[in-house]
């Protein structure tokens, strides 16, 4: 046992002394930190301003109102989800934001605005919020109307207006909310029509929904006018163009339905993915370690002191500890990030953890993780022992990597959609994939019987694999010459010495 620990400690120290290990260890925390910093300091500038010159004097008010309605619709949607998520709907049950809807009619949005909009709703909601609820932040409007700057001619036609606004379209413009990039300038001529179109100038990155709102509003007004000109009474014309589909969409509350399935899959899928990444990383380290020992011809000195099996177990233990270190740092970084991002713990981590509602699930997941590590690591160890160089190893390794990763990636994609679909279930019964598939499906209603049966199958497979590949490892350590072909490989598994 002491020999195993000595080998394990040496392996751990050797890997931990390399730059590559530290780069890999820190890459995730650094990426997370960089994302946070970038999120705070390099937040993309989405807000912009627009200028509207309406020579008819008939469109401007409607367009501004349409833009405001659209903004309030998004605000209402976000507020409704927030109120439902934190159980604050009881603050005013008859309010539009209290019903958990995600689709809102014009009338509902109008009602929301009439009741004071988001600020008034938040005042009502605040006393009902639990302590861990994140603060709902009111964002400024994404687009805001700016006055035409002094000196820019508004009554000399579109070309003069364009020339006057050109410097502002390349820079910023003053608005009631401060300086903003001028994203869009619009000129509606007095005789707007097919021969005299509405003109728009953008800075190259206009707000698409803003343009869409303008188009639809102008079109609506023009349709109404056309109907009136065709003899339809103005009231009826207005009703016709304002007609909307009577539609009520029911969706499960946020955090439930498919969303809940997806959220609950987050942790199991993350574990499955972590297993894959960790075993691939530590496996390749193991491979390099064995090839180094073989190519440096130092194995004979080691084998004079300890059994080949002790060397094998020592490597598995030492590199397993490296894997645990990587997992600990990565998970630590992820947890830190989760707590530092408002609402993530409550929205994703807690519901995902809540899915582990049985203690045996934790034990089962630890078992699958451990078994998965052993299965893949033994493959890498055997390949390392068979190979004289990294080039040799590549020829064995590529098919093995494809054989493992491709089906697992396909399976993970399907688990998000249907955790108990054919592919994940079938893969749960193929020992090479059992750990990945069962980890990914663990919170999707897997029965204890299935866990016990696949666990027993997996345990037998691990023992047999370790026995057979352990023989290959031991028989290959002092082998010289070309790597064996399939026949030689099988002979090694069954204890027939070929050299």
């Amino acid at each position: 046992m002491k020999s195993i620990f000595l080998v394990a400690i040496r392996e751990y120290r050797q890997i931990a002394s390399t730059r590559g290990f530290w780069v890999m260890l820190l890459i995730l925390p650094l990426v997370i930190a960089a994302t946070q910093v970038a999120g705070r300091f390099i937040r993309p500038q989405l807000n912009s301003a627009y200028v509207l010159v309406d020579a008819t004097g008939e469109y401007a008010d409607s367009i501004h109102h349409r833009i405001e309605l659209n903004r309030q619709r998004f605000e209402l949607g976000d507020l409704s989800a927030y109120a439902q998520r934190w159980g604050a709907g009881s603050a005013k049950p008859d309010a539009v934001w209290a019903k958990g809807d995600r689709w809102f009619s014009e009338q509902q949005v109008e009602q929301f605005i009439a009741e004071g909009g988001a600020p008034a709703a938040l005042e009502l909601i605040k006393p009902k919020l639990p302590k861990d609820a994140p603060v709902y932040e009111l964002e400024p409007p994404p687009v805001v109307l700016a006055d035409v700057p002094a000196g820019v001619p508004v009554d000399q036609g579109p070309d003069a207006l364009a020339a006057g606004l050109a410097p502002y379209l390349q820079d910023v413009i003053d608005t009631p909310l401060g300086e903003r990039p001028l994203g869009l300038a619009v000129y509606i001529p007095a005789d707007v029509g097919p021969t005299s179109p509405i003109r728009m100038w953008t800075n190259g990155a206009p707000n698409a929904s803003l343009i869409d709102a303008m188009r639809s509003e102008v079109l609506r007004i023009q349709r109404a006018r056309a109907l009136v000109a065709g003899g339809v009474a103005p009231e009826l014309a207005a009703q016709l163009v304002d007609t909307s589909l009577p539609l009520e969409v029911s969706a499960p509350p946020q955090g439930e339905g498919r969303e809940l399935v997806a959220i609950r899959s987050v942790l199991p899928l993350a574990l499955s993915y972590l297993l894959m990444v960790t075993v691939m990383v530590t496996g390749s380290m193991m491979l390099q370690s064995v090839i180094e020992e073989r190519s440096n011809k130092l194995l004979e000195s080691v084998l004079a002191c300890i059994r080949p099996s002790d060397l094998m177990y020592g490597k598995l233990l030492g590199l397993g500890a490296i894997g645990v270190t990587i997992i600990a740092v990565w998970v630590g970084a992820a947890v830190f990030a989760a707590f530092s991002v408002q609402g993530m713990v409550a929205d994703i981590v807690k519901p995902s953890l809540a899915a582990f509602n049985e203690p045996w699930m934790i034990i089962a997941m630890a078992f699958y993780f451990f078994a998965g590590y052993l299965i893949i690591s033994m493959l890498y160890l055997a390949i390392g022992a068979l190979s004289n160089s990294l080039q040799d190893a590549q020829s064995y390794l590529m098919p093995v990597i494809f054989l493992i990763t491709l089906p697992v990636v396909f399976m993970m994609v399907q688990v998000v959609q249907t955790p108990n679909g054919t592919l994940p279930v079938v893969m749960s019964w193929i020992p090479l994939y059992t750990p990945f598939a069962m980890l990914a499906r663990m919170t999707a209603g897997v029965s204890m019987m299935e866990v016990l049966a696949t666990g027993a199958m997996l345990a037998v497979f691990v023992v047999v694999e370790m026995y057979l590949l352990g023989r290959v490892f031991q028989a290959s350590l002092l082998r010289t010459g070309q790597p064996p072909k399939l026949g030689g490989f099988i002979a090694m598994m069954f204890g027939k010495q070929t050299q």
């Binding site: 050797q14 020992e293 440096n296």
Partner: protein
């Protein structure tokens, strides 16, 4: 008492027999030479003694026990093919092997430092192995083999790859360990080292034992050779197998004589004197171990391989 015994040991790899019915024993103390050409079975025999390989049949006893890692604490082993962990430091390497052999870290460290100084590597103690020259790396490996002050030191081709100066350093160290009571078994196909160092020899050829015994006993296996200067033809003298005239004057001739195996040259000289066989020169040639090896192993070509 024998410290290593092989009794009718056979080792086969598939259809190839690497060691064929090999029996010998290494007495405790002294230096035992394990001689043979390439492919003679030296390394395979040593690996079996160390339990790195298991014999197909036969029995091996080492330090009075069966081969196994439990003997590692009393054995030092320097394999023919040598290497070290390139990113480990010099002292760490020696201590690691000491600990693998059951030493505690403190003792391994103290002994490791002593050996490092002895090999002149003091300033490299904390350097990683990949910073050392090949010769220095070999010294580190020798130190790793010796760190546990073994009862039995097994060296497989220990001088290969070392320059003459370092060969001498290693030779002195091995001789010193032998003087202090360590039994040394070393394999080589360089006869000069064996001739200088070994007290007993084992000669192997194609997995079979050709000879086991002292250097003198080995030499006695070869026919004696003489150069004499005489007036008469020595062909009829007792024990002479062949005599060839190689020079001289009209009255005195120089002869190269091959004697029967086991002939007593002293007795021949006495007989010449007693019987009035006139001699001006009587010069016996002691066969070198190289000659013995060529003769017994049978083929100089095997060495050349």
């Amino acid at each position: 008492m024998a410290i290593l015994t092989l009794d009718h040991v056979v080792k086969r790899f598939g259809d190839f027999t690497a060691v064929d019915d090999l029996s010998f024993s290494v007495p405790e103390g002294g230096i035992f030479g394990f001689l043979g050409g390439n492919g003679a079975g030296k390394t395979t025999s040593l690996r079996m003694a160390l339990d790195i390989l298991r014999p197909t049949s036969g029995k091996i006893e080492i330090l009075g026990r069966s081969p196994g890692r439990e003997n590692a604490s009393e054995i030092g082993f320097l394999p023919e093919e040598r290497g070290l962990y390139r990113r480990m430091k010099v002292l760490e390497t020696i201590v690691y092997f000491g600990e693998l052999k059951g030493m505690d870290a403190a003792k391994a460290t103290a002994e490791g430092k002593r050996l490092i100084e002895r090999f002149g590597l003091g300033e490299w103690t904390k350097a990683t192995v990949d910073k050392l020259s090949k010769g220095m790396q070999q010294k580190v490996q020798v130190a790793a083999a010796m760190v546990n002050s073994p009862k039995l030191l097994i060296l497989d081709e220990p001088f290969s790859g070392l320059d003459p100066v370092n060969q001498q350093v290693l030779e002195d160290l091995v001789m010193e360990m032998a003087r202090k009571g360590t039994t040394v078994v070393f394999s080589t196909h360089v006869m000069q080292h064996a001739e200088r160092m070994t007290s007993r020899l084992l000669l192997l050829s194609r997995g079979k034992k050709v000879f086991e015994g002292t250097q003198e006993e080995a030499r006695a296996r070869l026919p004696g050779r003489l150069t004499i200067t005489s007036q008469a033809d020595p062909s009829s003298l007792p024990g002479v197998v062949a005599a060839q005239r190689i020079g001289g004057s009209e009255s005195w001739s120089d002869w190269d004589i091959e004697m029967k195996v086991g002939s007593d040259l002293g007795a021949l000289l006495q007989q010449c004197t007693t019987n009035g066989f006139a001699l001006r020169r009587f010069e016996s040639h002691r066969p070198s171990l190289h000659d013995v090896f060529i003769r017994l192993v049978g083929s100089a070509q095997e060495i050349a391989q």
